[in-house]
Structure formats: structure tokens, C-alpha cells
Homo-oligomer: 226 residues x 2
């Protein structure tokens, strides 16, 4: 299901958007200000963000910057301000689209679809096969020796990031930011524990990895011998 994060300080707009989007089958998170927005984004990894510019506390443009620091999620900005300067600032900060209030729900939905379409460029999700297991990125499943292996959400996320960068070294910092969020960039202990769990579930000899390699001091790398 597609996850949308909606950020707006006006409760009635927040509610209206929540109802409308859920009616269309989206999975919706609601945030009344920038702080909540960044926290929710880090935890739930939305597929698209709808962001009001006029927020109490952190400014909307700051929220864009905060998100762009570690994520490429599409951001659709809502604003009562029709000023050209605001639009330019928001777009150059990394927003993907700018809609002026008042707006029609149909237009907003169309813009969301456009943003989502761009972000998911019709790529079919690859299936990665190794001699010991099969990873289906689209179905989010892993098979090993005929049966399915259950990965916890964290483990899956870790595997997903590494497999998508197949062959490349992924730095500890990048892994932590993608899986746990930007404020966890130095919790390397998490990585060690969860990588150990992943290896125990997937590697034939967990203490002698054939697929999930450690590059000491730098990060991890997924590689198939083929």
C-alpha cells in the first residue's frame, strides 16, 4: 500500500486530507508540525509527502531540507502563499511540486499520482538469486531451500538496501540513515546485531559470509559470486 505523509497545521485540512486519501486506498500518516513530520518520516518511510509551508515551529522549507538530507521521497508542497519567491525557495530546496491553496482535491490527487509515477519509474522489481537463497524485492520475500525465510522488518530493510546496491559498498552511515533514520547515523551497534541475524538466517555459514560482506571501518556489501 502506498504511504502518504500529510503535514499541515490546520486540523480541519489535516482531517479532510486524511479521510479523502484513505478513501482512495492510501495509507496515511498525519503530522501537525515539522517535528512530528520528520519523526514520522524517519519511522514510516512514506512514499510521498504532502507538506504545508506555513507551519508552527520549524519552517516548511526547513522540513524539506531535513527530508532531503537522507531521502528522495517526492514532496508536494501546499501553501496559501502564492508568491513566486516562496515557490522558488521551496522547489529549489528539493520540493517536487507546489500547489496553492485553496486547491481541488482532484487536482491534488492527480499531482500525487504524478509524483508517485515519477518516483516509481515503472521498474519491475528484480528478483535476486544466489546459490543459497532467492530475494524477491517486489514481493518482499526470501526463499531458501524451498521454504520461505521470515525476516523481521528491520532485517528486511537492511537486506533491501544492500541488495539494491548490489556489488557496491554501502557505508554504515548510509545504512543507518536509510533503515533507522537520520538521527541514528552513529549507532553502529545496531548494524552489527541485525547483520548477524540476517547472516544467521541467510548465510550457509554465518561466521564465514559468502554474500553479506563486512568492510571493516567502512560498511557492508552484498554480492553474489555469479
Amino acid at each position: 500500500m502506498t504511504r502518504v505523509l500529510v503535514v499541515d497545521d490546520e486540523p480541519q485540512i489535516l482531517r479532510a486530507l486524511g479521510i479523502n486519501l484513505r478513501a482512495r486506498g492510501y495509507d496515511v500518516d498525519l503530522a501537525p508540525d515539522g517535528e512530528h513530520a520528520l519523526t514520522l518520516a524517519a519511522g514510516h518511510h512514506p512514499d510521498v509527502v504532502v507538506l504545508d509551508l506555513g507551519l508552527p515551529g520549524i519552517d516548511g522549507v526547513e522540513v524539506i531540507r531535513g527530508l532531503r538530507g537522507w531521502s528522495t521521497v517526492p514532496i508536494v508542497v501546499l501553501s496559501v502563499r502564492d508568491g513566486e519567491r516562496d515557490k522558488v525557495l521551496a522547489l529549489d530546496a528539493g520540493a517536487d511540486d507546489y500547489v496553492t491553496k485553496p486547491f481541488g482535491m482532484d487536482e491534488l490527487l492527480a499531482r500525487l499520482r504524478a509524483a508517485l509515477r515519477r518516483a516509481t519509474p515503472a521498474e519491475e522489481e528484480p528478483v535476486v538469486e544466489t546459490a543459497d537463497f532467492t530475494i524477491d524485492l517486489g514481493a518482499k520475500r526470501v526463499h531458501r531451500g524451498g521454504t520461505e525465510v521470515r525476516l523481521t522488518p528491520t532485517e528486511w530493510h537492511l537486506v533491501e538496501v544492500l541488495v539494491r546496491h548490489q556489488g557496491k559498498l554501502v557505508s554504515q552511515r548510509q545504512l543507518l540513515q536509510e533503515v533507522w533514520g537520520p538521527e541514528y547515523h552513529d549507532e553502529t551497534a545496531y548494524l552489527r546485531v541485525h547483520m548477524a541475524n540476517v547472516r544467521r538466517k541467510l548465510e550457509p555459514e554465518p561466521s564465514r559470509p559468502r554474500y553479506f560482506f563486512t568492510e571493516p571501518g567502512m560498511g557492508y556489501r552484498f554480492e553474489t559470486s555469479s
Copy 2:
């Protein structure tokens, strides 16, 4: 250079956009209607398309469909129509953004930048090859004679800085600051030891370097003979 295709049936707008975009360093194609637009797009493969909806002949939405049949180039729609239905139709046909006339040039430019930024995701890191080894900056790995060479974090960092400044002299001070941090600017002993290790791992004759040269009193230089 970035190529922009502008499609509009009003000559003065076409001219104005052409002048403005060229002044910003874009390479601009101009088309007064849908037929010319599709022909130019097929021939010149623009990086982004600015498209007016109200065209004589083929309708703007048809132009979008025509382009989307074979291209994923970002399309920014211009229109005097502010109707919600038009926006929804255009966006769902495959447009990336919708700007209502009259618009400010700064806003349009910001939207173009946003569209281009999305379309150009990860530029890839170069791979540097020499007769004796291969350095993949993106994957952070080094191959030599078929097998992989393991570099420690410090060694890799050193190699990376030198290789990214390929052919140029990198001062000891700069190397120390980039690898160890600003307060280590005079620990030249570190450089000597680690450069020796790098050479032992990569140079065919470590004591007679062919790639990692010392410039006495100044710094180091990476150079491939090719």
C-alpha cells in the same frame, strides 16, 4: 548542455521563453504546434519539455500521450485554463507539472530545475583503470590481476582523494586534512607510512612507483600513463 523543448502557439511567449532560457545557458528548441513538437522531440531528445496545452491542431494532451509513448522526458505543462479537470487530464496523461498562465519566469525556471533534478538521479562514479589495477570509486573496491585487493579505511580514503584529483598534485596538508581531519595538518609521518602500504598493495614495484608519485616537500600525485 541541457536541452529544453518549448511548445507554444503564441509567438511572443515562445520568443520570450527562448530568450530567457538561452540566457540561463539552456539549449532551446522552439515549436509552435504539436506536430513540430513531436518531430523535434524525436530528433533532438530534449532533457525537458515545456508544453502549452492550448495548441492549434493536435491537442496538448495528445502531445503528452505521443511523447509518453516512447519517452520519459519530464513535461511541464503551461496553460491559461485553470480548470481542475484540465489539470487532472494533463497530469494523468503523463505530465510532470502544471503551471497556470500568467506565470513568473522565476517560478517556471524553478519548476524546470525541479523536473530536471528528478530526471537525473544518480550520476555514476567513474572507474579508473590502469595497466596494473582497477579502482571503482562507486563500489569502493580495487581489483588487481583478477582478484580483489583489500584496502583499510585509511588507505582507501587516501587513494580516493588522490584518484579524484587524478593528474594533479595534492599537497600533504590537503591530504592530511581530508583523511585525518583539520587538526592533523602536520602529521606527515602518517602519510609516509600509509602511502607505503598503498604502494605495497597496488604498485608492481612499490619502491619504484608508476602511479602514486611523491613530489618531495609538496605532496603526492596519482597518474595513469594512459
